[in-house]
């Protein structure tokens, strides 16, 4: 039903929120482990770091940044409605405004992260 029901913006916003949240949770676990290694076993850590600095690693970071940014923006949207329930009448507009910020902040961000991989 989750995939068959034709929801609108609100349902997509929720699905993305969940997916990005789970993705960030996975990364947080990985990240605590690798930083722990930075203290405990620097050689292994520096190897992991090489992956982070490689092209696939950078693509992952762009995705991570996108998940963070989306989750933050949509989280603010939800909180705004929690505290001012009358904003629910504009939930779609707020969502589209989120995407404007997402693209506006995300594209330059992605460019900075990818620049070394592109040789610029």
């Amino acid at each position: 039903m989750l995939f068959r029901y034709r929801g609108s913006e609100g349902m997509v916003a929720w699905a993305f929120h969940r997916i990005s949240g789970i993705a960030i949770w996975l990364f947080v676990m990985l990240h605590v482990l690798d930083i722990y290694l930075a203290g405990g076993n620097p050689n292994v850590y520096n190897d992991i770091l090489k992956f982070y600095a490689s092209t696939p690693g950078r693509c992952m970071e762009v995705l991570l940044g996108a998940a963070l940014l989306y989750h933050a923006l949509n989280g603010l949207r939800i909180m705004a409605m929690d505290f001012w329930p009358r904003l629910t009448a504009y939930h779609k507009q707020i969502w589209y405004a989120n995407w404007v910020v997402f693209v506006g902040a995300g594209l330059p961000g992605a460019f900075i992260i990818m620049r070394p991989a592109l040789g610029l």
Partner: protein, 128 residues
């Protein structure tokens, strides 16, 4: 006061935990907008992963108590927010024994990560 919940069974005495969790998700969410986005910008925009080896972390990035404190606060918020969020997801899709098992392992992993993170942030030393 109502003694029965909707299904007719005795009301679970949740002790307001759901309300507390609801509050905390919002509070930590706002905090993370600042903490996590600052952290991400530092590591990826101001600096670059190619320079962030362990010597750099301990000698430059964490050369002040402020940045160690900042990252520890981030760690605390992110772990609580992420694990409470995963609790929500678990409680949506699992029931009964499987739910208990999943939640217990979730909390255990959360505690272990919290300990590991705290140790490295506060007593992590430059690699010899």
């Amino acid at each position: 006061m109502a003694l029965y919940s909707r299904s007719g069974r005795p009301r679970p005495q949740s002790g307001g935990f759901e309300l507390a969790a609801w509050y905390f998700m919002r509070f930590s969410g706002v905090a993370l907008c600042v903490l996590a986005l600052t952290h991400f910008s530092l590591e990826h925009f101001l600096f670059d992963p190619s320079q962030e080896d362990s010597t750099w972390i301990f000698n430059q990035r964490w050369n002040s108590l402020f940045w160690r404190g900042f990252d520890w606060l981030l760690l605390m918020m992110v772990l609580l927010h992420a694990f409470l969020g995963m609790r929500t997801v678990t409680m949506d899709y699992l029931q009964g024994g499987r739910r208990t098992l999943a939640l217990t392992s979730l909390y255990l992993v959360g505690v272990v990560l919290f300990a590991m993170g705290t140790i490295v942030v506060f007593v992590g030393m430059p690699a010899a």
